[in-house]
């Protein structure tokens, strides 16, 4: 079983819809959870960062962590064509060694 599982998509939704992106993980030591957005031919950029369980909201984006189920989500409200990108979940455990484990990414297309 891979440490982090993420459906590669592609996921196509109409403009204005709510988008739900998800990852599951197996390592219960993970404490820090992130979402990165990667546009075509660009490097990933940090979108959301949460610690432990709970929700975090930033504008149209909400990150949700359920440690009991080892499941994280990213919700995008009022989706826009500019949200079309690949979204990578990522996570790490506490400690000096702060290597981050990435999911393979979900390709998202927002249809105008």
């Amino acid at each position: 079983q891979k440490e982090v599982e993420q459906d590669p998509g592609p996921l196509s939704v109409p403009e204005g819809a709510i988008v739900s992106l998800n990852c599951t993980y197996s390592n219960s030591a993970f404490q820090y959870f992130m979402w990165y957005r990667q546009y075509s031919r660009k490097g990933p950029e940090l979108l959301m960062y949460t610690y432990s369980s709970g929700n975090k909201e930033d504008g149209r984006f909400t990150a949700q962590v359920d440690k009991s189920s080892k499941y994280i989500s990213l919700f995008i409200r009022d989706s826009q064509p500019s949200d079309s990108a690949t979204y990578l979940c990522a996570m790490s455990a506490l400690g000096r060694d702060d290597k981050i484990i990435f999911g393979k990414g979900t390709r998202l297309h927002i249809l105008p």
Binding site: M34, K42, G43, P44, E45, Y49, S92, L94, K99, I100
Partner: protein, 111 residues
């Protein structure tokens, strides 16, 4: 990408030749990483560094070496390039648990 640059942005090289990719940062971050990104595999860690002259292997380090003689520079060398090393290479930097900042990538083609 602010504070981190990769060079070259594109390179085509022949099988068997050595290739060096450069990552330069102006953020004075302690940690630096080299990843490769391939369809179906996502981001895979090649090597990382936690300080000057302190480096360690990642999950796909065979055929690659790194050096970090200054805080700001992290070099990735393909000792003898093979077609399987055709990929997009990303450098990333971090300080503590704040997540990574990635460079814009180097697209390498080995022919």
């Amino acid at each position: 990408d602010a504070g981190i640059t990769q060079s070259p942005r594109h390179k085509v090289t022949e099988t068997g030749t050595p290739v060096t990719l450069r990552c330069h940062q102006t953020e004075n971050h302690r940690y630096m990483y080299w990843y490769r990104q391939d369809p179906g595999h996502g981001l895979r860690l090649i090597h990382y560094s936690y300080g000057v002259k302190d480096t360690d292997k990642g999950e796909v380090s065979d055929g690659y070496s790194v050096s970090r003689s200054k805080t700001e520079d992290f070099l990735l060398t393909l000792e003898s390039a093979t077609s399987s090393q055709t990929s997009v290479y990303f450098c990333a930097i971090s300080e503590g648990q704040d997540g990574y900042t990635f460079g814009s990538g180097t697209r390498l083609t080995v022919v």
